[in-house]
Symmetry: C2
Subunit: 324 residues, 2 copies
């Protein structure tokens, strides 16, 4: 029988060498885009402590679970989140295809509002607009809409596509955790099916390790073929206390490592830091208006200080922000 | 930094040899507990077709998703399901600890009913009894109850514990699929948190690749510590059309391989067989009263014949049923 596609011979040879001589791995520099200061040291020390056999803080591989928020933690979320740009594009397309189509007030805000008007929509209006816009889409249809949008969209300020808005240091951090036996999950307030089509390429996270806001879905047989179809309601908005709940539903374990930056993350970080095993929480702090943006979540900084989370300061801690 | 725990040298050597010379893998016999007849041949041919580069039916690794029902597909479900025995034990324990405690009619059936009375409970009553019995349990508490129960329980007829009630040929099938680049998921009508504590040991399936019935969960802070706690209601009963829905929620892809045996599985099997990629569905047919049980799901056999599913006949197709 034919197994997985064989890698090329040089790749095989290097992997074999690393496998026979694991000390070679140690020579590799981890987190190259992080400056050598407190945050990087804290991460290296934590991972060393929990992965060294015999260490009092040793954690077995199945329990090495790490969860990352997306917007503002792995990718730029200003002036608007990626998902918001996708929704704006979708509503505009609906109107371009059928100018007389009746749309809701929230969809109208998306199509015609300023960034600030869109940004001030209530969570409820935003979720309702999402549900209305994609109601009736099969999972496959929705996924190809995301892929098509991502192929063309550019960020208004950086003129970069989705794949180049991911913070390089955070990508390195996820790679480092995986190389250290962690399983890395995404826990986003954006719709789970919006993140999935690029989770593998951008974050190295398989689609089934993505957790996010979930639409009500329905099983439907249309012309003798079965589909799972998005309905006009949101089932679970994965923010705040719903983050630990959805972590339990999808992972079934309390993570030992988490990173977040916004109002959707305090409960996830609290849940992780309340675990019995040695844990680490990162708060990504946006203090770099030149390279990215400057904004603060005061409540979260307070929580971070109370609980000893590592506050990652973009300006001081990161050599680079985006891929070249 | 210290990476994953190093394996012993002989293990390393064998793995390295297999890695350098993948043809060695071909010498290994797959599915040794399957008789060499139609079912085994069909499985081998399917996996060959979808994993051979250049084959018109080739499927890339991320799309090689396989889903397995549990009760009656991977483990014995007669006279009652594993979860039912766990619930009976839990309700009896509640009454032993507090004999005057008021319990519901459904809980009373579990504690005092005959197998046949318990088996004829409606799905609604059964789910309600589950929810009542474990309401208030944190995820960690519930998980240790399952582990404690599984450590002591023996099947009434076979006098075997949970780990020895898993069908050997199905375990081999899951191993074979994994060796061929598939990701294997469990999709059970039992509670997701009931399956998880033994999914890794019994099925080789990591906890986050288990899908099942889900309780309503709540995030709670008790004595300044955060928990996720089961509530007195079931959120989603993962049977019938909810199987494809929960597959989309947890996996985000239509599987290409599935196995089932009961009334909870027709929609999952239909959904898989309606996919665009070459797919395979197995129906596990219980026709072996001497080694296991004999019972038929007529509707499912009809569907299997209509759609060309492979009907696995325990008696003819399996050399052994349970581990020695």
């Amino acid at each position: 029988m034919n197994m997985k596609q064989p890698s090329s011979f040089p790749v095989r040879l290097i992997l074999v060498c690393l496998f026979i001589f694991p000390p070679l791995l140690h020579a590799q520099e981890f987190l190259p885009s992080w400056n050598d200061n407190g945050s990087k040291q804290a991460i290296l020390e934590y991972v060393h402590a929990v992965t060294t056999p015999g260490s009092p803080d040793f954690i077995t591989v199945p329990d090495r679970v790490a969860t990352f928020d997306v917007d503002g933690t792995l990718v730029t979320e200003k002036p608007l989140s990626l998902e918001t740009y996708f929704m704006i594009s979708s509503v505009k397309k609906i109107l371009a295809d059928a100018p007389d189509k009746e749309i809701s007030h929230s969809q109208k805000t998306l199509a015609e509002g300023t960034d600030s008007e869109v940004d001030s929509m209530s969570g409820k209006d935003y979720d309702q607009a999402f549900a209305e816009t994609y109601s009736g889409n099969s999972q496959e249809e929705f996924s190809s809409k995301v892929v098509n949008w991502a192929a063309n969209w550019l960020h208004p300020r950086f003129k970069k596509g989705v794949s180049r808005l991911c913070y390089v240091p955070m990508k390195e951090l996820m790679d480092f955790l995986r190389a250290s036996g962690f399983t890395v999950f995404i826990v986003s307030g954006s719709n789970i099916d919006f993140i999935r089509p690029f989770s593998e390429e951008l974050f190295g996270v398989p689609q089934n390790q993505v957790i996010g806001t979930e639409s009500v879905l329905k099983y439907k047989v249309i012309d003798n073929k079965s589909y799972v179809v998005k309905q006009s309601r949101i089932d679970v908005v994965t923010v705040g206390p719903n983050k630990p709940i959805m972590i339990e539903k999808h992972i079934g374990r309390r993570p030992v490592f988490a990173a977040g930056n916004g109002t959707s993350d305090p409960e996830m970080l609290t849940y992780v830091s309340d675990g019995k095993r040695k844990n680490m929480c990162l708060l990504i702090h946006h203090d770099d208006p030149d390279r990215e943006y400057q904004y603060t979540n005061g409540e979260l900084v307070k929580l971070a200080n109370q609980r000893g989370f590592v506050i990652v300061r973009m300006k001081e801690d990161w050599k680079t922000v985006f891929p070249e």
